[in-house]
């Protein structure tokens, strides 16, 4: 039973993966502009038609779109992500290198915002209706309603510029040229973007958890627990929080999508050398293969997260174990 469930989930993952990359392929090719015409602006001279043709031929751009699509899929299945126009190196190498930088922000921000969001959400879901609960709800809506790049700009302005507590951007100080990599320095540079990303992601987690708590508190088995003479604290921790967290696990993936898109803006504003900034660069350069690679990596991240959530869910919810 268990193994069938895993296989079924894996199958859905592959399906989602193929649908995902196909849609990406179509959308990217619908985008106006191409790499050559982008180059023209930069080098301010004309490129000979022969050179242009040679370039197109070299990268297979003279073939029909359908043909390109199948070549792309075929290459992917062999683990070949293609070459970047801009950098002329294998895309996988660039993306993996940049992913490391993104994860430096993304992992702590995900964990922190989850922890804080779930905690506040659980507490106010339990004590819902109080004045404080409503104030917190409004503050959360306010944080969420404002785009992450505005928060990023404000934080740079206040903590970086006026207070001078953090660097304005980048990932290392100029000093590393002499002293070599300084991890503390990187940490110092990463703090402000990380805090911004965390802050922007707290409301989503808070809201999911609070809602889930509100539903759970109204369940009949809470009455049973109270009827046994359990204290409110025991009812909260033993009968409510775990039940309320269950639906959260599957919703978390949605939050991750939100965070990845948020990190694009935040990385750009903080000049953080991650996938988000890479995406903006690739977009401006119309480096389609690179863009494709970035979206491919994002798709993979989300699918892996989703799969992990499903597996985790089946471990903590006894009802899924039988495989229905």
């Amino acid at each position: 039973m268990r193994i069938e469930y895993v296989i079924k989930r894996l199958f859905y993952c592959f399906l989602a993966f193929f649908v995902g990359i196909s849609i990406t392929f179509v959308i990217l090719h619908l985008m106006p502009g191409d790499y050559i015409s982008h180059l023209l602006i930069n080098i301010e001279s004309t490129i000979s038609p022969e050179a242009s043709e040679a370039f197109k031929h070299k990268f297979g751009l003279d073939k029909s779109l359908t043909e390109q699509y199948f070549i792309y899929i075929d290459n992917l299945l062999q683990g070949d992500w293609g070459y970047s126009f801009e950098y002329g190196v294998p895309i996988l190498n660039i993306v993996v290198e940049k992913l490391r930088w993104t994860l430096i922000l993304l992992i702590p921000a995900t964990l922190l915002s989850l922890l804080i969001g779930v905690f506040i959400g659980a507490y106010f879901g339990w004590k819902s209706g109080s004045k404080l609960d409503l104030s917190v709800l409004n503050v959360m809506i306010f944080i969420r309603a404002i785009p992450s790049y505005w928060w990023a700009l404000m934080f740079v302005l206040i903590f970086g510029f006026y207070l001078g507590l953090f660097p304005l951007g980048g990932y290392m100080g100029i000093g590393v040229l002499e002293s070599g990599t300084d991890y503390l320095d990187i940490l110092h540079h990463s703090l402000l973007p990380m805090i911004t990303l965390t802050l922007c992601s707290i409301p989503g987690n808070y809201y999911l958890m609070r809602n889930s708590m509100l539903l759970t508190v109204g369940e009949d088995y809470i009455i049973t627990a109270r009827g046994k003479g359990l204290s409110e604290k025991d009812i909260l921790f033993k009968h409510t929080v775990k039940n309320a967290m269950l639906p959260m696990v599957t919703m978390i993936t949605l939050e991750l999508v939100f965070m990845i898109s948020g990190s694009v803006f935040i990385e750009t504003i903080f000049s953080w050398p991650g996938m988000g900034m890479l995406m903006i660069d690739a977009m401006n350069a119309r480096d389609l293969p690179l863009l494709q690679g970035i979206f491919l990596m994002d798709t993979l991240l989300i699918i892996i997260a989703n799969f992990t959530a499903d597996m985790l869910y089946s471990c903590i919810d006894p009802r899924v174990k039988v495989g229905e």
């Binding site: 009949d220 046994k228 006894p318 009802r319």
Partner: protein
């Protein structure tokens, strides 16, 4: 002194549509080792009465009257003091085990929880006790079943587990809320037999809309209609000599007596009928019934009825 004495109990829910008068001036006594049946149609206020005794109604409910338990008024106790009574001295078997059992906790844990709390058992002893309780309610393979989750139990077994939970701390009073509802006839009879066996000691308020089951189990029966008691008597008197027209109608709706339904529908608890609550559906209605609300009167020894025919 009786174990439980309810005096003039009212439980009103303020809602957007108006005040739901779910329990209306109920007086009821339960002696030590007595089993009282509380019967009535769905929605007449039986569960609310049970919840009121356990003080499990939501805080916004307006509750009046007194619920004397061993000489103490439960309605006056602090939440802290009440917690020491719930599950230990008064326990409730809730009416719908599929929703009243926590789906993500093991059955054994849910039974063991109150024994750990009230009897100070450690984890191991509490688990052993839980196995014993499952055995007592006749669940086969109890030492294996104790580690299973509610969804692995059949409907009848969930009901048994719920009963085991209620009885775990040997409460002096058990409130059983329709423990036979929704079970098929063979399982129903098994549960009835079980309830008789396991509650030989201690008192019970047995809530049901099934008169046949009440007859099997209870010493006395209270009939409830639209939030108030309309008849109270020994079980055999209710069957041999039902006095209130509603009780008679209820008896006639039994399969053995021809399944004749009472005409009309039960009244809204927001707009209660004037006079006798039952008059719009009654076959013996006189003019006075429409305006005069009858009191409970003792017609025979220990046989009380709320009807103007007898007052």
């Amino acid at each position: 002194m009786s174990l439980l004495r309810i005096i003039g109990l009212k439980a009103y829910f303020p809602t957007q549509d108006g005040i739901v008068k779910a329990v209306n001036t109920v007086d009821l006594e339960i002696e030590k080792n007595e089993r009282v049946g509380l019967i009535g149609e769905t929605g007449c206020g039986k569960t609310v009465l049970g919840f009121a005794i356990m003080r499990l109604l939501q805080p916004s409910t307006n509750i009046e009257g007194r619920i004397m338990y061993n000489g103490k008024d439960l309605l006056k106790l602090s939440e802290e003091e009440m917690r020491k009574i719930r599950g230990k001295e008064i326990a409730m078997i809730f009416q719908n085990p599929p929703t009243f059992l926590n789906p993500v906790l093991k059955i054994g844990y849910q039974i063991a929880e109150s024994t750990q709390l009230h009897q100070g058992l450690d984890k191991k002893a509490a688990k052993e006790k839980a196995v014993g309780m499952l055995e007592a309610v006749k669940i086969p393979l109890s030492s294996k079943r104790v580690s299973e989750y509610p969804h692995q139990f059949s409907g009848g077994m969930k009901e048994r587990a719920m009963i085991a939970m209620g009885l775990a701390c040997d409460p002096s009073l058990i409130i059983a809320d329709e423990p036979t509802k929704g079970l098929d006839i063979t399982i129903k009879m098994q549960i009835v037999k079980l309830m008789k066996e396991v509650t030989r000691q201690g008192s019970m308020l047995f809530i049901t809309h099934d008169l046949g089951v009440a007859a099997e189990i209870c010493d006395n029966i209270a009939v409830m209609y639209a939030g108030e008691l309309v008849e109270y008597a020994k079980t055999e008197d209710i069957f041999k000599n039902p006095m209130h027209p509603y009780t008679r109608g209820f008896l006639n709706s039994l399969p053995s007596r021809g399944l004749k339904q009472i005409r009309g529908i039960s009244p809204s608890l927001i707009d209660l009928p004037s006079g006798c609550r039952f008059h719009p559906r009654c076959d013996h209605i006189e003019e006075v019934c429409k305006n005069w609300h009858p009191e409970m009167v003792e017609c025979d020894k220990g046989h009380y009825v709320r009807c103007l025919q007898y007052g």
